[in-house]
């Protein structure tokens, strides 16, 4: 792998930028591998990278039915935080946040990770109590968290309209200072390039259409580019976890829903943190390019369409404009919908399956992007040692049978409400 550096930039500029090489090889699948990872999104590529780097397992193929960066990694709002109440979630999400901080250097790829903090607004005393409980739970585990007064919030986010005249005046806020955002495409490109340089084959346009199994053990996969044998197969296909798992005869506690997000035209820097709200179910930030990114709630019904409906876009814009009335002159540039594999308790599914040698990492609900490094790290360890890593053990598939659900919001098994 050729190092990206200032020197490389200058050298290539002098030769007219004609000597850059592709970031990863266009691999053709071999007949067999030690590990096949189905899905070349953030989690799949991170898993492949850590398998090679931490465990020396380089006989790995990552198969993707489309192209790298064309799935859910490119359909989110890039927010990275670890402000979770439950201990099980805090472990993995905070480990992940720690990895983000040094990831650009490790992958030699600028992920544009921006530690700009994330603020959750409280609009009542009850909201503040709830956020204080969350902050205390985090502090007890050694995760940084702080509460802001109304005055501090209005001073630090001058563009926010939280004063007495608004619909729900701001009472205060919770902030995780280490939270931030990253460049979504760069994350998959960076992991793909680093994994490729360690010997991993990244095979694009290769759809898995069947699983080869013998006596309850996985033997390989059938793909649009032929049959490929493998000792271990991992399903890491955000958005289609149920349909791919069904190829192995598995039924999962997952319902696939739509989640929309959108960006405005770019403007000069005006918002230097991520803003969420306890009253408005939206989240707003400004990209390095200047666009205002807004995220909405689920559309509310199961769908694989990757195509959202107008009512949710209107809701999202309405929330945003209530908080930031000065954005009303902006034009919406694009909107998109991702398929969220929503589990029955709002937490992911990670670990071995009843089929020997077959593993699943999916059901990420809203938490997929931010967990990419931590999930890849712990899932690679799980694959290498044939047992769940400590950080992902709570997310085992059979937790619903044993009553060990991890339900951050306390909603029942109706995923559209998580």
């Amino acid at each position: 792998m050729r190092n990206y550096s200032s020197y490389a930039l200058i050298k290539n500029a002098l030769t007219g930028n004609t000597r850059w090489t592709p970031a990863w090889r266009n691999a053709r699948p071999r007949k067999n591998y030690e590990v096949i990872i189905i899905g070349g999104g953030g989690h799949g590529l991170a898993t492949a990278y850590y398998l090679a780097k931490n465990h020396g397992i380089t006989d790995v193929a990552v198969l993707d039915k489309g192209w790298i960066g064309g799935g859910n990694t490119g359909r989110n709002t890039t927010i990275i935080r670890s402000d979770y109440l439950l201990e099980e979630n805090a472990g993995l999400y905070d480990f992940s946040l720690g990895l983000w901080a040094g990831l650009s250097r490790e992958l030699n790829f600028n992920l544009m990770f921006s530690e700009r903090g994330a603020v959750t607004l409280a609009h009542s005393e009850a909201h503040l109590n709830q956020l204080a409980r969350l902050a205390n739970a985090m502090l007890l585990r050694g995760v940084n968290a702080e509460l802001l007064t109304r005055e501090e919030v209005l001073k630090e986010i001058p563009v926010l309209d939280g004063g007495a005249g608004t619909r729900w005046p701001v009472e205060g806020a919770f902030r995780q200072p280490e939270a931030g955002t990253a460049r979504h495409d760069a994350v998959v490109w960076g992991y793909a390039r680093a994994a490729d340089s360690l010997g991993v084959d990244i095979v694009e346009q290769c759809e898995v259409v069947g699983m080869n199994m013998e006596k309850g053990r996985i033997k390989g996969v059938q793909t649009s580019q032929g049959v490929i044998a493998a000792d271990k197969v991992a399903i890491v296909v955000a958005g289609h976890t149920s349909t791919v798992a069904a190829l192995a005869g598995l039924t999962l506690p997952v319902e696939s829903h739509l989640l929309q997000a959108m960006v405005s035209e770019p403007i000069k820097p005006v918002l230097d943190t991520v803003v969420m709200s306890m009253a408005y179910d939206g989240y707003v930030s400004q990209t390095n390019k200047g666009e205002i990114v807004m995220g909405a709630e689920l559309d509310g019904y199961p769908s694989y369409s990757q195509r959202g409906n107008l009512p949710r876009i209107e809701d999202c814009v309405r929330y945003t404009l209530t908080m930031f009335p000065s954005f009303s002159g902006l034009r919406l540039m694009r909107s998109w919908a991702g398929i969220n594999d929503m589990t029955m308790d709002g937490s992911p599914l990670i670990g071995p399956t009843p089929v020997d040698g077959l593993y699943i990492n999916g059901g990420w609900c809203y938490g997929g992007f931010k967990t990419i490094p931590g999930s890849g790290w712990a899932f690679a360890d799980t694959l290498a040692h044939d047992r769940a890593h400590r950080l992902v053990e709570p997310y085992r598939l059979d937790r619903f049978n044993t009553g060990h659900t991890i339900n951050e919001n306390g909603h029942g098994p109706l995923p559209q409400h998580h």
Binding site: S242, T243, A246, T251, L252, P253, V254, E255, S256, G300, Y301, P302, S303, Y304, S305, N309, L310, P311, M344, F400, N401, P413, L414, Q416
Partner: protein
């Protein structure tokens, strides 16, 4: 914007309705041997690509409960009937003849 036909009120816009759950959740199983079956019913979803029998409510209308046969990729709605009428697909989503 999708249009959903309420069996009592006629065609209305999607925002008047709320999705509740997959129809498979409503088929209760009784008896002490049925523990696993009930766990599966509550927590597992076939989530296949295709037609699903779903329960919706006309929340911002007559508040009636509907059973809707809807495709989860095209969003085409083939049927919407009052809840209580017979489903036209089985729990795996296969059309019944």
């Amino acid at each position: 914007m999708q249009e959903i036909r309420c069996p009592w009120c006629g065609p209305r816009v999607q925002t008047e309705f709320e999705y509740y759950c997959d129809d498979s959740l409503l088929t209760e199983v009784w008896g002490s041997e049925a523990v696993q079956q009930n766990l599966d019913r509550v927590f597992l979803r076939s989530n296949h690509l295709g037609y699903h029998q779903e329960i919706w409510q006309h929340t911002h209308g007559c508040r009636g409960w509907l059973r809707v046969l809807r495709h989860n990729l095209t969003h085409e709605i083939k049927e919407s009937q009052p809840l209580g009428s017979n489903p036209v697909v089985d729990k795996d989503g296969r059309m019944q003849s």
